[in-house]
């Protein structure tokens, strides 16, 4: 039972930031596509902006790994 709760906590630690990241990237992506169509030279900036929210899920991954290694 305890292991199941730890696994659930680890899964939530990754999945919730993943949903948030996906939402943010969808918003940035649609705006970015419009921007690149108008001004192709903004492609670099858009890639950077698109990649920024991924930090959330990376941090979630770190937390999940710590949970598993610490308690499982």
């Amino acid at each position: 039972m305890e292991k199941a709760i730890i696994a659930l906590a680890a899964a939530m630690a990754v999945s919730i930031p993943a949903i948030a990241t996906a939402y943010a990237q969808a918003k940035i992506g649609s705006a970015g596509a419009g921007s690149v169509a108008e001004k192709p030279e903004t492609a670099g900036t858009i890639i950077i902006l698109e990649a920024i929210p991924e930090t959330m899920v990376i941090l979630g991954f770190v937390v999940a790994i710590m949970l598993i290694l610490q308690f499982a």
């Binding site: 492609a43 670099g44 900036t45 890639i47 950077i48 990649a51 920024i52 991924e54 930090t55 990376i58 941090l59 991954f61 770190v62 790994i65 290694l69």
Partner: protein
């Protein structure tokens, strides 16, 4: 640190240089004398007649001369200084003392220019040193001089120089002609720009090079006249045939649908067939009305009808009635809102519809044959004329650019001047070529940019062949400022290292290497750059694959008992994560160190304080964690605490509260490098999943196919994900510490060659 403006002036010792300057001064002096004499004559005449009109002429001529005198002065002096007319430092003949002038060559002199390269070496990091070049020439040679500069292809013109090209008739004619030729190329449907050869371009140049711009326009226009009219008539005919073919095809479709009805019983000479457009629901009512109308006239005739519903709300109604009832049919149909249908070729008197189908089919065949012949003729014309027209287009495009540059030149009736930026390493060759070609007809001066001009100097990157393909990453951003740092060598080192660490598979690395070798043979320069980058990534992937012990996941272990040199990623998650964070710490600290050096170099106190504070903060924090987690002597704990305190003090001094926020951002940046471990782990697990299929399904065809598909998917994810994340680590975490993207691209005025020619 030595600044650009502190460099010793280039010695100007040659007598030839002074001769050249004296020659230009004598031209100005002669102009002055001529205008003075003109004024004197007008004045004398005015004084003789003393009429009001001539007094007025005298006043206008004197005003005009005063204006010209100022213009001539400023043409000669103002151009070189870049600091406005009347700059005392540079006024006068060759400067030997202090001031902006650093070098001067009157072409045709024997000045030794070997010191040029050493004089312009400014110690920039991976960015070419630029010099400000000013050139004067005699007006009669303006065209040739501009053309030579164009062929040299090193001069980056001032973007802010106003151009009068739009007011120039020849320039506008060239633009118009360029558009016309491009229109012809597009009408021909030719798009072989990548297959265009230098010889194609050479042919156009050889035949037209000696003509003036106006003559060129006339000559090209004349030679294209016959071709244009032939092409226009072919295209018009093709369009006409297409329209007719379309209509006939639709007629054929209709006739096919009514053939059973009309051919079932051949019409007698007293019967007539007709087809009507009617609304889908109206057909039965129309047939009933018609029958009633015929009965009412006591004709007792039967009405044969057949209705085919259309895709939309209209359908076609076929009628067969007696010839004598034709007028009644037309009246009733018209009253019901029906419209007659006729095949396009037989609008006036169609033969009986039952016999029409073969005629329409024959017409379609004839038209299709003619359409194919036109298509073939156009294809032949495209093959024959496409490359020629493309070469002509490029030639006119270059001529247009030359005309635009000529219009940007400033000057008087006798001389003109032009200026811009030239890489220091190209200056010697430029001066030599101009000297050989134009002798005493040009005068060139150059100087190093002043510190206040650095924002206007274009940035040209200078990297070793091994690193230059990685300049591709900087093309997505604005180039670094002239006084900034080009991070390309560091990208060349870290990008493939990070990507390889994420992929970390010998098998995948070998496949990427093969892909890179294939791409290397491609014509497009960007693909060759990608191939070079991929080669680096592939080699690092193989090395990391050996370190992690992976060959297509665990296939290496299963088949060859392959062992990891360092650690197996799927087993040692924590060590890999710690390693990647350490890598991130080093990378971020490197970025901060470059930022610190930039701050010190440019005497930006806030910048270097913030970067130094950030570095000390990060180092202090990591060392403090090490003290807490390991058995390091606790007495030395004051060292990391001191680092932290000094770091925070510097951060506050350099950037205030923002500096503290920046420091916490740096911690996030360092942790962000965990993605290298995370993506690598997912790639390794996916590769293992692929192998599991063969465990579950055995060495069956299905098992192998599924394993192959999963590996293929993993391969795509590996190269896409690793490249994107590695690029992101550079753009956000690394460049954010020091990169100042405010530069201007170095875009010299030059010929397009190789594969760089494209429609604009």
């Amino acid at each position: 640190m030595k600044r650009e403006t502190d460099l010793p002036p280039v010695p100007l010792g040659s007598e030839g240089v002074e001769d050249e300057v004296r020659r230009f001064e004598s031209i100005l002096a002669a102009e002055y004398e001529r205008k003075k004499e003109e004024c004197r004559l007008i004045r004398e005449r005015a004084l003789l007649h003393l009429s009001e009109m001539e007094r007025e002429s005298l006043r206008i001529a004197e005003d005009e001369w005063t204006g010209k005198e100022h213009a001539l002065e400023s043409t000669f002096y103002d151009f070189d200084t870049g600091h406005g007319a009347g700059d005392e430092e540079t006024r006068g003949a060759p400067s030997r003392g202090r001031g902006c002038l650093r070098g001067r060559v009157g072409a045709g002199t024997s000045r030794d220019r070997s010191d040029v390269a050493s004089a312009v070496r400014g110690g920039r990091i991976m960015i070419r040193d630029m010099v400000r070049l000013s050139l004067w020439g005699v007006q009669s040679k303006k065209k040739e001089i501009v053309r030579e500069l164009f062929a040299l292809g090193v001069l980056h013109l001032d973007q802010d120089t106003p151009s009068t090209a739009e007011d120039d008739g020849t320039f506008n004619s060239l633009k118009l002609l360029r558009g016309k030729v491009l229109g012809l190329i597009e009408a021909l449907g030719w798009d072989g720009w990548n297959s265009l050869r230098e010889e194609d371009l050479g042919a156009s140049e050889t035949s037209l090079l000696d003509l003036s711009s106006a003559e060129t326009v006339h000559e090209i226009d004349r030679s294209l006249e016959a071709f244009t009219s032939r092409l226009a008539s072919l295209l018009a005919e093709a369009k006409e045939k297409d329209d007719l073919l379309d209509r006939l095809n639709r007629s054929e479709e209709v006739l096919r649908k009514f053939t059973p009805f009309f051919s079932g019983k051949a019409p007698s000479e007293t019967e007539e067939d007709s087809l009507w457009w009617v609304e889908n629901g109206d057909a039965p009512a129309l047939v009933a009305s018609l029958a009633a109308a015929l009965d009412g006239g006591e004709r007792h005739e039967a009405v044969s009808s057949h209705f085919v519903a259309g895709k939309e709300s209209f359908g076609l109604l076929g009628l067969r009635t007696s010839l004598s009832a034709a007028s009644i049919v037309r009246r009733v149909a018209s009253e019901s809102g029906a419209m007659p249908w006729r095949p396009p070729e037989y609008r006036d008197a169609p033969p009986p519809f039952g016999k029409l189908l073969p005629d329409v089919q024959r017409a379609i065949e004839g038209l299709s044959a003619r359409r194919s012949a036109i298509e073939e003729e156009l294809r032949t014309a495209a093959l024959q004329w496409g490359p020629r027209l493309a070469a002509l287009y490029l030639f006119i495009d270059e001529k247009t650019e030359e005309a635009s540059v000529e219009a940007q030149c400033r000057g008087s009736e006798e001389s003109f001047s032009i200026g811009g930026w030239v890489p220091g390493d190209a200056l010697h060759e430029t001066a030599r070529r101009m000297e050989e070609r134009f002798g005493t007809d040009v005068l060139m001066q150059w100087r190093l940019p002043g510190e206040d001009e650095w924002k206007d100097v274009p940035t040209a990157l200078k990297n070793a062949p091994l690193a230059s393909p990685f300049e591709l990453f900087l093309r997505l951003l604005r180039p670094p400022t002239y006084d900034g740092v080009d991070p390309t060598p560091m990208v060349a080192l870290f990008f493939p290292f990070f990507s390889g660490c994420m992929i970390g598979d010998v098998g995948y690395g070998v496949l990427f290497l093969l892909l890179a070798l294939w791409l290397k043979g491609r014509k497009l320069p960007v693909l060759r750059d990608v191939a070079a980058i991929l080669t680096h990534v592939a080699l690092w992937s193989i090395l990391w694959g050996l370190a992690w012990g992976e060959f297509f996941g665990d296939v290496g272990h299963r088949l060859f008992h392959m062992k990891p040199l360092l650690v197996e990623r799927t087993q040692g998650i924590l060590p890999v994560m710690i390693f990647t964070v350490s890598l991130g710490l080093f990378h971020v600290l490197l970025g901060l160190f470059i930022g610190l050096c930039q701050g010190v170099r440019h005497h930006h106190r806030h910048l270097w304080m913030e970067k130094a504070g950030n570095m000390l903060f990060l180092i202090g924090l990591i060392v403090a964690i090490l003290f807490l987690k390991t058995r390091l002597p606790k007495e030395l704990f004051t060292v990391p605490v001191s680092f932290l305190v000094i770091g925070i003090a510097l951060l506050v001094g350099g950037g205030g509260i923002g500096g503290i926020v920046e420091a916490f951002g740096s911690i996030g940046n360092v942790i962000s490098y965990v993605r290298i471990a995370a993506i690598g782990l997912s790639s390794a697990i996916l590769a293992m999943v692929a192998s599991k299929f063969t465990d579950v399904l055995g060495l069956s065809v299905l098992g192998l196919i599924l394993a192959f598909i999963i590996h293929l998917l993993n391969l795509v994810i590996a190269i896409g994900g690793s490249s994107l994340h590695s690029a992101r680590l550079h753009y956000v975490e690394f460049f954010g510490r020091f990169y100042s993207a405010g530069g201007k691209n170095y875009t010299p005025f030059r010929k397009r060659s190789g594969l760089t020619w494209k429609k604009r």
